[in-house]
Amino acid sequence: MRQYRFARRSFLAGIGGAFALDVLLRNMEAAAEGATSPARMLLTHFPVGTYRQSYLPKGGQTDFTLSPILQPFESLRSDMIVLYGFQDRLSCPGGGGHEAGTPFTTTCANSPGTRANGGEGDDGVAGGPSFDQIFLKHVPNLKQSGAGYINTLADARVDSLETSTQCLSYGESIPGGADYRTRSIKAANPGGNITEYTPNLPELSPANAYAKLFSNFIPGGSTPGNNDAALKALKARKSVLDHSLRELALLKTLAPASEADKIEAHASAVREVEKQLVGQIESGAVGGGTVCVKPTEPDASLKGKTGSKFDYGDEATATSDEDMHERIGKAHAAVILAAFQCDIIRVASFQWSPGTNHVSFKGKYPADPERSFMHHPMSHRIGSQSFFNGAPQTGTSPDASLYQFLVAINAWYNQKTADILSSFKNAKDGFGNSVLDHTVVPYLTEVGDPSHSRGPKASLIFGGKALGMKGGQFLNFDGNVRPQVDVWLTVAQALLQTDDPLAALPATEKFNRSGAGPIKGLWAKPA
């Protein structure tokens, strides 16, 4: 039974008011001395790469001036590590820049090919589990009972039916074993069938994410009446899940062996949630339990858009998406924050939009400031890496306007992410500590720049101060590029509390270890 020690007042004061979630945690007496915040990981992403000269800070490793693109993170400087110069030599037959780049970024594994999805044929599949799943398997106490993690996405519109760019998490960890969920699929390249690590598709609706995470809680504050209602709801739900497990057990006896994995996957999903229920029932919803009371439900009308459209050459839209995009993204982030605070999950992913997004923005294209244009389709107007990584462009020519448009959107995403991370910084968890201090947040992108280069790529790491991360640093490896996996291994140091994560992670894990290692100087074991 976990015991929480926290200060209710400081907790409430720390809530990021911008997201309008009132999370109330009941005061508890600490039963154990030395209880501390758990380690957490939040995987985040920004689409379509960046623009070197407008991204790179000026100055030294600890004494630098933030660039226009990074300026939104100024208030988080001490919680931030700015990195540049990652490039992978991973293979994905037929994989597109964004489409292979996205699974590459989070799995760091070679891919067997692309999905036959009826679209372009460049939809790269994951050749290994993503690091969120790797950590869930190997980092002690990272996986909570119940869902264990949540993946969220604020907008899912893509070009050509691709799954890859709208998913950061792959290969759910199978409980109790060394394996992850995979499946055989038809391949566009190289043809035939290939095995992919199954995409753990994100939730587009903050209300649904909320429902998935908080379904075992009831609204209201901590009163005997609410506690009683909570306990009843838990027990009733357990009865429902027990029924499912009985029927699945029976089905397993009737079906041949070839169906066992399928039935077991279903049963495992039910069992995980039931474990959480049982834990809550046993810890008691009445008189001394550790129930986290349900926060306010997000607006059910907020939901990321879906669709697939080849908009190149036709990038203008009648309206801008950015206000709604911001609202949806922040609603997702608020749910994740609340789930972290309530310690329902310790791993999550939050993605604004796919690398092949169709999110439109107004007023950011100087040549035509009154109109709205879609981000990724516009990025295709020029295909030159030297253009994107060259000198910043000024003026209102089409090329210069395009450059400024893309930089402005990169900065926009950074501003909104900074808002979110600030709320994590200010929010207290059940132990009275800053959520961000105990959460490592890799903020990654799937390509180097809009030319679809595999690098050099930008990456940032936020948070994790209490876990040993050393923020306030800038390192540029361009000219001596490093593989993306080095960012993950740096994160792994904080989660595994070791300076040798390669030794701690089994050699059977699929990520490419060639030339890999954590980045020195970014982590030290806390005293």
Binding site: A116, L204, K232, K235, S239, A255, A260, K262, I263, F310
Partner: protein
């Protein structure tokens, strides 16, 4: 804006257009050799049309229509449990809890016929679906089931028929009956016990009947008996037929994507689904319903990837898009709807070959100029009139919708169109794009050399130059025959450079290298080739089996269906009947026991 449009993407060939135009070479080792040898037995399942997906089997050439050289047994699959696709779950929810609640669930959870993934062919191959209910899928299903429980609580009297203050007896009776309806068969004793246990436990927790009903409905809606349909038969560890109730579910979900109706369940109860005549009677009954016809038309619409029309980029001002208020002022939307009407009117009357040879289509004023026809009835652009096509057109392959959705933005793509015909109509194995850097460099070099020659000259180069010829001889001819239709689908006799376009082609070896004078003649020859019904037989069987099957046109299971089809009037309905009575559909092998 295309009404009801869900999916949109270019074909693989279109998106690889830059390479396709230069795709003059491929390794001979990637060529479409005998897939029965190249692939594992029974491989080459249903995958979607297009591109470099090396799926599908060898087309059956002339004179090889029978089962003499078929692979595998007539029973295609082992006993199994098959999860309902989200569209099937949607239809099931509508049937159980009504359209008001069903429509809300469709919208809240993005399932149902308007969802982005509703029409993958076959459905469970979509990444949003999959054959297993893993965590993410289960969470969604659980939320839906919980919502159903909430709906039951809020509409207790109306749903249960027990009034606002139900008695235990009435409520329990409702729960059992609801479970039976949801599971699509009578409950076993153990199942009845289990669901009543939920009722009793929850009543004990809350002390009230409404919450007990709520959670019973919740439990039923997330039961494996609802979420999967079983194909286990009567006797464990023995091959044999599906049970009557299993067959009822299989038939209904195959044809209508919906649970079995009362009549089908009654037939199951009376064990009147074992004889072929009984099954075909049900098939005919269901095929007469709008739901089944719409379901199958939509499946074929997706199969031919006409969905691409919504998003294909065509650099020609004549390829207009309509508005929300007047969609059919646009060529894009009109062509889309023309294909919908063509399928609806052609699939259910006359032979299946009408897909290729019918001289009728349904054209509006927006399209009439492109076809060079005069409509027989006046009206605005929303009126689609049955029209006889001119001599230079027949069937689907010469429709604006098919042609435009398989064009590059600037040029019709001989290779793209050829590959689509090769796979969609004949289930041939399309080669993958070469990835060898040296070969790609050669391709680019040849592309530069041939940049200014005609499409025919390029095709002739590919057909006569190793290693290109190893692959391109198998499919370029189809695309070349269609080269007289430009990127919008207009008929032309000259290319943009003023060179005459010769539409006659020498068809591949599958046709004994016969000559077709033009696209219409080519379509006629495809229609007569045994590979065409074998391809459709394979596809319809894989659609019916939903997942897992790796049938090819030369599988014995497919050949059994095709034999039945060949002895019929050769309509789609007959093909579907042949599927429904086939051993592949009605029987399962034992599989390895636990």
């Amino acid at each position: 804006m295309i009404p009801g449009l869900k999916l949109a993407s270019p074909t693989t060939m279109l998106a690889c257009a830059g390479i396709v135009a230069l795709a003059l070479g491929c390794s001979a080792s990637n060529g479409p050799k005998d897939s029965a040898a190249a692939q594992p037995p029974g491989s080459g399942g249903a995958g979607s049309v297009g591109g470099a997906a090396a799926t599908g089997g060898v087309g059956v050439g002339p004179g090889t229509g029978g089962g003499a050289t078929c692979e595998g047994g007539e029973i295609a699959d082992n006993k199994r449990v098959v999860r309902l696709s989200f569209n099937q779950l949607s239809r099931t929810i509508h049937a159980l809890l009504g359209d008001t609640f069903g429509t809300k669930v469709d919208a809240d959870f993005e399932i149902g016929p308007e969802s982005p993934t509703a029409r993958t062919f076959p459905p469970l191959s979509s990444p949003q679906e999959g054959s297993s209910i893993t965590t993410g899928l289960w969470q969604k299903v659980d939320l839906i089931a919980s919502a159903a429980g909430g709906y039951a609580l809020a509409n207790l009297g109306q749903l249960t028929g027990c009034g606002a203050a139900p008695t235990d007896a009435c409520a329990e009776a409702f729960v059992r009956a609801f479970a039976e309806k949801a599971y699509r068969r009578p409950l076993t004793a153990a199942e009845a016990t289990s669901i009543v246990q939920v009722y009793t436990e929850v009543k004990g927790i809350y002390g009230t009947i409404p919450e007990a009903v709520q959670h019973s409905v919740y439990a039923i809606m997330q039961s494996p008996q609802l979420l999967y349909r079983t194909e286990l038969g009567e006797a464990k560890d023995q091959a044999g037929p599906l049970t009557p109730y299993e067959l009822a579910s299989s038939l209904s979900y195959f044809l209508s994507d919906a649970p079995p109706d009362a009549e089908l369940l009654t037939a199951a109860a009376q064990n009147k689904l074992s004889a072929s005549a009984d099954i075909t009677a049900q098939v005919d009954r269901l095929l007469a319903t709008p739901a089944a016809r719409k379901n199958l038309e939509s499946a074929l619409f997706s199969y031919f990837q006409v969905d691409n029309l919504a998003t294909v980029k065509i650099d020609d001002p004549a390829f207009t898009s309509g508005t929300q208020a007047k969609p059919y002022t646009g060529v894009r939307e009109s062509a889309y709807h023309e294909v919908e009407l063509f399928l609806a009117n052609t699939l259910w009357s006359g032979p299946l070959t009408g897909l290729l040879t019918s001289k009728k289509s349904w054209v509006n004023s927006t399209l009439s100029g492109l076809y060079g026809v005069t409509l027989s009835a006046a009206g605005d652009e929303s009126q689609f009139v049955e029209t006889t096509l001119p001599d230079n057109r027949s069937g689907l392959l010469t429709q604006v919708g098919f042609l435009a959705s398989n064009s590059r933005p600037d040029l019709p793509s001989v290779v793209a169109r050829g590959l689509v015909v090769n796979k969609a109509m004949l289930c041939q194995t399309n080669p993958t794009f070469p990835t060898d850097p040296a070969l790609v460099a050669k391709i680019e070099e040849a592309g530069t050399k041939l940049a200014s020659v005609s499409e025919r000259e390029r095709a002739e180069y590919r057909g006569s130059t190793a290693p290109c010829s190893g692959c391109h001889r198998a499919f370029d001819a189809y695309g070349l025959a269609l080269d007289r239709y430009d990127i919008v689908g207009r008929y032309r006799t000259m290319d943009p450079q003023g060179r005459p376009i010769d539409a006659s082609v020498t068809l591949p070896a599958l046709f004994n290298n016969e000559v077709a004078a033009d696209a219409v003649a080519m379509e006629s020859k495809i229609a007569q080739n045994p590979g065409f019904p074998a391809c459709f037989g394979k596809n319809m069987l894989n659609w019916a089996l939903a997942e897992g099957s790796q049938l090819t046109p030369t599988s014995c299971a497919t050949q059994a269906v095709v034999s039945g089809f060949n002895e019929s009037d050769k309509s789609l309905s007959s093909l579907l009947r042949a599927v429904a009575i086939s051993k592949a559909f009605t029987h399962r092998n034992a599989g390895v026991s636990q």
